[in-house]
Amino acid sequence: MQPTLFTWALVVFGVVTLMPLIWAQLSMLIRPDSQETRDLIIGKGEDWRDKTHFKLALGAAWADWLFFAPLFVTGSIGVLLGQSWGYVLFGAAGACSLYINIILWFTEKEYVYPTRGPLRYFTYYWGFFVYWGALALAYSVVRISGIEL
């Protein structure tokens, strides 16, 4: 299960896509009430829809730092080392990315999409997380099934 060019491309795509998120979620954990955090999480100049929105976003930040980020980092190391467990963890990180962004599609799209426009929304604001999640998951299926790609 040695890494191929495609493996490297997926890991790099994951790092580029997820690092800003992990940074923003760290800001959420350290300075949850700051304007800088609001700018990062819900957009420049935006405010929380209500108090439950803020707490729900903070809950997601905890889940990202306790589970998603460690899964992505260890999974990426594992696939680059050519280990089968790496593909399991990498696929699990992809699953989380896909899952949370389906939730965000229903909760955040009506606020984020009009202000950011289709190009930004369907790329780095939301789209890349879905594309990376789906690709990471599908790629893990392919590699675990014994197909080299």
């Binding site: 439950t52 903070l58 905890w62 889940a63 306790l66 696929g91 229903f106 909760t107 675990i144």
Partner: protein, 147 residues
């Protein structure tokens, strides 16, 4: 590849109590609420955004409703690709449980939780069960991936 019968049985039970109940929430939210599966005060107007989040989660849970079926079917046929569908469900269980427990604790701390304490006494252990099964599932499937 052989997945233990016990793992499949517990997986099916978790699938029934998890994503399958979310189908009920999407189809008949009032019945879901009457059965005590929704937070008691969640339907009140002041929890409009909270309820939107719950509905969004229910839609997302439809993905592991499908992945659960795929896992069981492929595992019974002995295909190794079953692993990834089991993995999807277990990863979602852990992620979701961590997110929901953190949210409930934060909302309770600030007096904003639509679930009264009596309901949380049941809800939190229920989520802890998903968390533990999800972690065990990841560990178990990881073991199978290495065979």
């Amino acid at each position: 590849m052989e997945v233990s019968a016990w793992f499949i049985v517990v997986f099916v039970l978790m699938w029934i109590t998890g994503p399958l109940t979310q189908v009920l929430f999407l189809i008949t939210p009032k019945l879901h609420h009457r059965l005590g599966l929704t937070e008691t005060n969640a339907l009140k107007p002041k929890f409009k955004w909270f309820l939107l989040g719950e509905r969004a989660t229910a839609y997302a849970d439809m993905t592991h409703l499908v992945s659960g079926i795929a896992f069981i079917w492929l595992a019974l046929l002995g295909y190794k690709s079953a692993l990834i569908f089991g993995l999807y469900s277990c990863a979602c269980y852990v992620y979701f449980a961590l997110m929901v427990i953190s949210r409930w604790l934060l909302l309770t701390k600030h007096g904003l939780n639509p679930a009264p304490r009596g309901q949380l006494v049941v809800y939190i252990p229920y989520m802890v069960l998903f968390l533990l099964f999800g972690l065990y599932g990841l560990f178990y499937l990881w073991g199978l991936a290495q065979l």
